[in-house]
């Protein structure tokens, strides 16, 4: 299911290069674990080595049953994302977000080329045919990020020891992402835990158009 193998790969690579600690973040909203939140850690002193080579790998966002999967996809800037259409109908994927504006006009199957997300920021994806289809690509400028699961926990496994600014973002985050920033130190070995309790804006999702014979989304 998870198609984030690339990200995990990068972490493993880093872990082998330097000594690293683990950051485990717990995100909740209204006291309940919040899924699809992106936790990003930025090193105060960026590492000297660049990891441009790793950015060649392609990540995909599927369109299945007229939904984007995953709903939230954190990527490092410079990552290309492919939008394969698994449905037997056409989709028209677009984004007006300043971080990446693009349009994949009506297509079936794999689009001609993947989309490169080269600027950090949040890119909101929509389908011009199906208003309710929405997905977020979080383009991170830091290579350290993770997405919370259903338990609200995100784990950044191999962080080089050092001081980090960690932030959390969520599509419905009330307030700015910057406001969630925390300073913390990651030891060479062991796990640092942190937690956010954030407030959410109302869910502004457009209901699915009903399909004859099916109900709801």
């Amino acid at each position: 299911m998870l198609r984030i193998a690339g990200t995990l790969c990068a972490g493993l690579l880093l872990a082998t290069a330097v000594s690293a600690g683990e950051l485990r973040a717990q995100v909740s909203a209204g006291g309940r674990p919040l899924a699809d939140a992106v936790v990003v850690a930025s090193a105060e002193a960026p590492p000297a080595t660049t990891q441009a080579g790793t950015k060649t790998s392609t990540i995909i966002i599927d369109q299945v049953n007229k939904e984007f999967i995953p709903y939230v996809l954190p990527v490092e800037a410079g990552t290309s994302v492919n939008f394969p259409n698994r449905d037997n109908i056409r989709h028209h994927v677009y984004s007006f977000s300043p971080a990446k504006q693009f349009e994949l006009p009506l297509y079936i199957g794999d689009p001609a080329a993947p989309v490169l997300f080269d600027k950090p920021g949040v890119v909101v994806l929509g389908c011009n045919i199906h208003d309710w289809m929405i997905a977020y690509v979080y383009v991170s400028d830091s290579p350290y990020y993770a997405r919370t699961g259903a338990d609200g926990t995100a784990t950044l496994p191999t962080l080089p020891a050092g001081r980090y600014t960690v932030r959390v973002w969520h599509p419905r985050l009330d307030g700015s992402e910057a406001a969630t920033a925390k300073q913390l130190a990651v030891p060479a070995q062991g796990t640092v835990e942190t937690a956010w309790e954030i407030t959410l804006k109302p869910d502004f999702r457009i209901p699915r158009a009903p399909i004859p014979g099916q109900g709801g989304y």
Binding site: Y94, S95, F96, S97, Q101, V124, G126, C127, N128, D131, W132, M133, I134, P171, K201, P202, F204, I206
Partner: protein, 830 residues
């Protein structure tokens, strides 16, 4: 004495019957009054019924009107409530439609793309373009964080700058629930504002669209709600304004005025409380802020609603008028149907009053009026029958059944009236029976009555024609009216009458010869006037009697003879009679009921006339009284009476005599001297004589007569009041008179045993006389029963045929001698 029975004047009692036409005239004048009374009753009834109906109709009308008004008001309020619901529903639906439209708009990819990616000018342009597509007047793009990103449409700058405040709440609302809509004031104009997100697909902004609330919308809403729809706006700065309204003209102005300058909340309350004169108003606040407000004013026109009932009202009024008219006509008919029979009855009653009994009452039904008419009719018949009876009694002689003097006069009048018009003669005959008095005196009244009846039968038998009338005028005087006969016909008729009368009459085995003297007078030759005609017939009749003719037609000389030469002739004849002793005295005995003796007699003069035969006093005394002849007659009577008493006394008969004095005797100044002298000459005592005077004698000159009578009394004469009861003597007069006895008129005594009234009179006279110490002599005693009755009544003396006839002196002597010894008087034995 018979004269008092037939007065020549009209009997006033008969006038009502004779005067019937006059009474009819009066009733004719009285009729309109009763008609107007009936009409007045009808009018009153109509007025009453009409008023009642008007009042009831009015009540009904008012009730219905009020109910209609109330109903109208209620239904208007209902309509208003329904309209209000529709109004809000429509507004809501409209906002939903607008939202949908706006969402469709904002879903447009190009639009979203333009909004999301393009510059300000492009954004504004796209906004304007797309907003116009769905008819928005004002378009604003607001960023998710509340900044105005672009604006289009009729928006001024001031507004634009205030937009954030103006729509912030709406945007916040939309952020919560996806969309928002409200009615707002945009640049002074009321707008329906919708807020929809621009999704890409997360919200990248809010589009605020304003749709003007304008006259077309008001009209559409008005048509949908069937109400008058107005939108009023208020701004603190500029006050109230009527933005859009279906009202027009004066109504528009009125609503605008009623908005006034007060605050929206106050206006709301005022409008809601507005009395329903022309409109029922329901205001609704579409939005109220501190400095602005939009009101919807829904109104239902009262007049318009009531107009629907105007036709109903007209129908009601029409029905009321119709029923009123019908009622009035019906009442008129009913009133007339009631008043007509009443009027007819009234007219009938007036006819009764007028004495017209021939016509019955109007035919009535079986109702009360019919019964009344029946009762009236019975009354009419009864009155008619009674009147016939009275008429018969008043117009007919009870003894003979012939018409009496009144009816005769009536018919004479009529006959002369007719004769005057038709110019033909009318003849009257007067018939006087000769020597009837003698029959009466000698044979008794019942024989006389039978004789009169027989005469009547014969008269009737002779008169052939129905128009000829035979009448008994009184006593033995008859008259015949021949309405179309001239003198010669009348004379012929007179001859036939005379022949008829000459047939001997047999009464109680006695054969009586009846003779009559007939006088004829003819209109117009002998007189124009009925009374004159009658007196001329009378004169002719007397002429015939004197000349012993069967019949005489009037000539003027008859009267002259009567008044002058005839009386003189009579006087000279009487004088001769006195001188030649043609007079003689008869004596009628009278019975002393106490002692049973009959030693008193009344001296009665008779005239053995050489030509006419035996004349009773009534046949010549009246003549004598007209002249001084009566003195000679009286003196002859006195001389002879005195002489006779003197003779009888000498012979041993202690007889007393009554002597009649006439009026003239009493008035003569030398009466007392003469009597004194006579008493002396004949050597008789005044005590042996009773002087009889009549009531009328006293009445003529009461003082002088009274004087004379007193002197006579003082001389020793007994005085007797003759014919008591026939005249007019007052009790006071009797009291003054020094009489010692009264003689009850024979007319009472004769019928005493058959007539209770007469009996009562006799009884009272006797009682009265006894109370005044007077003795009573009953004349005309003709039967044993009468005598016995008189004895029972304690009468003192009795005189009459039953006791003794007037007879000559020798016969009287003989009568006394033959008379058995007086029986023991009953009264003493009793």
């Amino acid at each position: 004495m018979t004269g008092r029975f037939f007065s020549s004047t009209w009997n006033p009692l008969l006038r009502p019957f004779a005067g019937a036409p006059a009474a009819g005239g009066e009733s004719a004048a009285g009729q309109p009054r009763s008609r107007s009374l009936a009409r007045a009753v009808a009018h009153k009834m109509i007025v009453f019924v009409a008023l009642l109906l008007i009042v009831s109709q009015m009540v009904v009308f008012l009730a219905i009107d009020r109910a209609v008004s109330a109903n109208t008001l209620t239904s208007i309020r209902k309509e208003l409530a329904v309209g209000e619901r529709i109004f809000h529903r429509v507004l809501k639906e409209r906002s939903e439609q607008l939202i949908t439209a706006a969402r469709v708009l904002t879903s447009d990819f190009a639009f979203r793309q333009a909004i999301a990616t393009a510059d300000q000018a492009t954004m504004t342009s796209a906004l304007n373009n797309h907003g116009s597509r769905i008819g928005a007047d004002k378009m604003v793009l607001v960023s998710p964080d509340g900044h105005v990103m672009a604006a289009a449409g009729s928006l001024d700058n001031i507004l634009l700058h205030g937009l954030a405040n103006n729509f912030a709440d709406l945007v916040a609302d939309a952020a919560q629930s996806g969309t928002a809509s409200a009615i707002r004031l945009c640049g002074g104009e009321p707008c329906q504002v919708v807020v929809v997100p621009v999704l890409a697909p997360a919200p990248i902004g809010w589009v605020v669209l304003g749709f003007g609330i304008d006259a077309p919308l008001a009209a559409e809403l008005g048509a949908l709600t069937a109400l008058d729809v107005s939108f009023a706006t208020w701004r603190r700065t500029s006050g109230w304004e009527l933005a859009a309204s279906t009202l027009q003209g004066a109504q528009f102005e009125r609503l605008r005025r009623s908005l006034g300058k007060t605050l929206p909340t106050v206006v709301l309350a005022e409008l809601a409380a507005e009395t329903a004169e022309e409109h029922v108003t329901s205001p609704a606040a579409l939005t109220i802020g501190n400095d602005h407000a939009v009101l919807a004013v829904l109104q239902r026109s009262m007049t318009e609603a009531l107009a629907r009932f105007a036709s109903l009202r007209a129908i009601l009024l029409g029905l009321a008028a119709l029923s009123l008219g019908a009622t009035i006509i019906g009442s008129l008919i009913i009133a007339r149907s009631i008043s007509r029979p009443v009027t007819a009855l009234v007219e009938f009653a007036q006819r009764l009053e007028a004495g017209q009994y021939d016509q019955g009452p109007p035919a009535g039904g079986s109702d009360e009026l019919g019964q009344l008419a029946n009762a009236f009719n019975n009354m009419r018949l009864a009155i008619s029958a009674r009147e016939q009876q009275i008429k018969a009694m008043a117009y007919h002689d009870s003894l003979t059944g012939l018409p009496n003097r009144a009816l005769f006069n009536d018919r004479l009048h009529q006959a002369i009236g007719v004769a005057k018009r038709l110019n033909h003669p009318v003849s009257v005959m007067l018939i006087d029976l000769n020597r009837f008095k003698e029959v009466n005196d000698t044979l008794g009244h019942h024989v006389g009555d039978m004789l009169l009846r027989e005469v009547a039968v014969r008269l009737r038998g002779v008169l052939a024609r129905a128009s000829d009338t035979a009448a008994r005028l009184g006593g033995d005087e008859f008259a015949v009216l021949l309405p179309t006969a001239g003198s010669s016909v009348a004379e012929d008729m007179a001859q036939r009458l005379r022949r008829a009368l000459m047939q001997p009459v047999v009464i109680e085995d006695r054969q009586l010869d009846v003779e009559g003297s007939i006088g004829v007078a003819t209109f117009p030759r002998h007189g124009q006037d009925p009374n004159v005609l009658m007196s001329h017939a009378d004169a002719a009749m007397y002429f015939a009697k004197r000349k012993r003719l069967p019949c005489a037609v009037y000539e003027p000389s008859h009267e002259a003879e009567m008044d002058g030469s005839e009386s003189l002739a009579m006087a000279s004849e009487l004088r001769r009679a006195v001188e030649h002793d043609e007079l003689l005295l008869h004596y009628q005995p009278r019975l002393d009921l106490r002692s049973g003796e009959a030693l008193h007699a009344e001296a009665m003069v008779r005239w053995q006339h050489p030509q006419r035969g035996f004349l009773s006093p009534s046949e010549f005394i009246p003549f004598a009284e007209r002249t001084d002849c009566i003195h000679q007659v009286t003196r002859w009577v006195v001389e002879n009476a005195f002489a006779q008493v003197s003779r009888w006394r000498k012979e041993g008969f202690p007889v007393k005599l009554s002597v009649n004095l006439s009026v003239r005797d009493l008035l003569a100044s030398d009466l007392t001297n003469y009597l004194r002298q006579a008493l002396r000459e004949h050597s008789v005592s005044a005590r042996w004589f009773t002087l009889e005077i009549t009531e009328s004698a006293i009445m003529d000159d009461p003082e002088h007569t009274l004087d004379t009578v007193k002197q006579l009394k003082s001389m020793g004469f007994a005085l007797s009041l003759d014919d008591f009861g026939s005249g007019y003597s007052s009790l006071a007069m009797i009291k003054k008179l020094p009489v010692s006895e009264i003689k009850i008129d024979q007319s009472f005594v004769a019928k005493m045993d058959s007539d209770k009234g007469d009996l009562a009179i006799v009884r009272s006279v006797i009682d009265l006389a006894h109370n005044m110490n007077l003795e009573v002599v009953a004349e005309g005693v003709e039967s044993e029963q009468a005598l016995e009755l008189l004895q029972e009544l304690q009468c003192d003396h009795a005189q009459g045929y039953h006791i003794g006839m007037p007879q000559s002196a020798s016969q009287f002597e003989q009568w006394i001698r033959q008379r058995p010894a007086p029986a023991v008087p009953r009264r003493i034995s009793a």
